[in-house]
Amino acid sequence: MNMQNPNFLLMVEGLTVSFDGFKAVNDLSFYVEPNECRVIIGPNGAGKTTVLDLICGRTKATAGSVKFKDKELLAMREDQIVHAGVGRKFQTPSVYEDLTVFENLELSYPKGHSVFGALTFRRDANVKARIKEIAETIFLEDLLDEKAAYLSHGQKQWLEIGMLLIQDPELLMLDEPVAGMSVAERKKTAELLRRIVEDRSVIVIEHDMGFVADIATRVTVLHQGKTLSEGSMERVQNDPKVIEVYLGH
């Protein structure tokens, strides 16, 4: 693969993290193109969530490089990585339960991020319009005044996706976005994701193979912190190595 290809949005090279000698991610490399929906699959403990943690700065890497639009993310603080254009959704829905849906989205609106900015932040027409627009995208336009604590599990997942969308990141990372969702919610989420991918790149961790086939541009299979296989869904599904460690049983 040509490492200098300027067309890649995200270049992960030789990424390694070691927890007391255990290498959760071991010399991992992969490349994400603009407008690509990359799905990472793999058995439990393969290091999927750790990879996202490393990219967004939650975990510090031991070695390697993560370049986003030619900027080295490993040297940046979490909030700086967000401002560079990388959004991250956690596995368990992380929303502010004591605040309303509107306030949840408002706090994620990309303005007033300094102490002074937060003190003087005004809820102007632009902010309101943008929040309304996002709320429609994530199917919550009727629940803007509801406290997030009262939302269903699936609605909380949508809300968190909405909180990322409002920042309009170029790279969105979603950790099991459909976990715990009903069949109907799953379908709506797949539809939501397809719309999201239209103007950005997305990295998704997912176990539900039907859902993966539905959204993936390319699939990376992780095993013991390394890439086991990579390519289209079809190719990966027919890879004997993948069948043996992951899909076979």
């Binding site: 979490e78 509107f102 003190l119 309101k128 406290k147």
Partner: protein, 376 residues
């Protein structure tokens, strides 16, 4: 779509502020003699600390068990100024070195330490009352929050600071007045603060400053920063990964709490006429948390009531049963934690406000979720 939480004052807030203003500015001064009014003035100085704690602890989830440090620093700054003014060469003519504070003379100091010099200026002192606690809080805040120290660890470390400062003050007797503190304070720019008239004026100045702090606190809580604090308390990582530098917000709110406490400490010195290490250490710091907890840690007005009620109970009880007070205080704290975790404000929001709104035709928007609607 108008959302009430975005307005600086809801109808309920205005009512709450008005009721408290009437109590503090009219009812108490009319009902109490000058001695008791001065006592309530003293209680109100603790309310500054409690309001700061509502912002740090209630809103931001940062529990500081060392607010006495900031109260003490503010109080000592004021006391140093007043002591210098009281130590004129004429007043201290019998000392071996006239013109320096008496306790320095007793400790064989022959000159005023250099860091006492600026406190000859009232202007400098007024700035220092706020600036010294804030700088101190800034140092602690940067050291702790940048390293992501939080929760119990932060509480214990702040408590250690309270212990350290007390030991330092007691140990450096010649510079600080030691365990007795700085006493025998007389005048403020020539104005005798020991008279009943002066105490009455100081009571109103204190009350006015408290309301100024309450307004600042209200503004902060109703700004986006206030909602961010709640968000940080519940989901710190989500806030961080929404592009906020979490530590800077914690440092800000901790410094604001320290500034309030410093003003309270200075007003304490002025009204009570001394400052001593007993107001700085671990026990007073924990008492201040209890004032806040009893009033309701989510409500800035609740904190004021908490400070007033607990201190009033303390005075009344310890006048009649001095040995029982500490037991009573401990029991009160346990009761608050176990029975009404949101304090008086929580009781008001859950039981009284719905009934009141029923009385007045339900216009007050009967508390939708009693759990989190603090009475203000």
């Amino acid at each position: 779509m108008e959302r009430s939480s975005n307005r600086l004052f809801t109808t309920q807030d205005i009512l709450g502020f008005a009721v408290l203003a009437v109590i503090i500015f009219i009812v108490l001064p009319m009902a109490l003699d000058s001695f008791r009014l001065n006592l309530f003035g003293k209680y109100l100085t603790y309310a500054f600390v409690a309001v700061g704690l509502v912002l740090c602890w209630g809103a931001g989830g940062i529990l500081s068990l060392g607010q006495g440090v900031f109260f003490g620093l503010g109080g000592y700054c004021m006391a140093m100024f007043l002591k210098l003014e009281a130590s004129t060469p004429k007043n201290t003519a019998i000392q071996s070195t006239p013109g320096i504070p008496d306790f320095m003379d007793w400790n064989q100091l022959t000159a005023l330490p250099w860091w006492w010099e600026p406190f000859n200026s009232l202007f400098f002192t007024m700035i220092a009352v706020v600036a010294v606690p804030v700088v101190f809080a800034l140092i602690i805040g940067v050291a702790m929050f940048r390293r992501r120290v939080g929760g119990v660890y932060f509480a214990i470390i702040t408590q250690a600071f309270a212990a350290i400062l007390t030991i330092l003050i007691i140990g450096q007797q010649g510079f600080t007045g030691g365990v007795n503190g700085i006493t025998d304070l007389r005048t403020l720019h020539g104005w005798d603060i020991r008279t009943n008239d002066a105490k009455e004026v100081l009571y109103f100045v204190n009350a006015g400053l408290l309301f100024a702090c309450l307004l600042i606190a209200q503004f902060v809580r109703k700004s986006k920063l206030g909602r961010l604090l709640i968000a940080m308390r519940d989901q710190e990582d989500r806030v961080r990964f929404s592009g906020y530098d979490v530590a800077s917000f914690k440092i800000f709110i901790f410094c604001l709490g320290a500034a309030f406490a410093g003003i309270g400490g200075a007003m304490f010195t002025l009204q009570v006429g001394f400052m001593s290490p007993t107001l700085v250490g671990i026990v007073p710091s924990i008492e201040m948390v209890i004032f806040c907890a009893v009033g309701g840690r989510l409500s800035i007005l609740g904190a004021v009531y908490g400070a007033l009620l607990v201190n009033w109970a303390k005075t009344s009880l310890s006048e009649s049963f001095p040995e029982l007070w500490l037991l009573g205080l401990g029991g009160l704290f346990i009761a608050v934690v176990m029975v009404f975790p949101n304090g008086l404000a929580g009781v008001y929001a859950e039981h009284i406000a719905p009934r009141l709104s029923g009385l007045f035709g339900g216009k007050t928007g009967a508390a939708k979720s009693p759990k989190e609607t603090p009475a203000e």
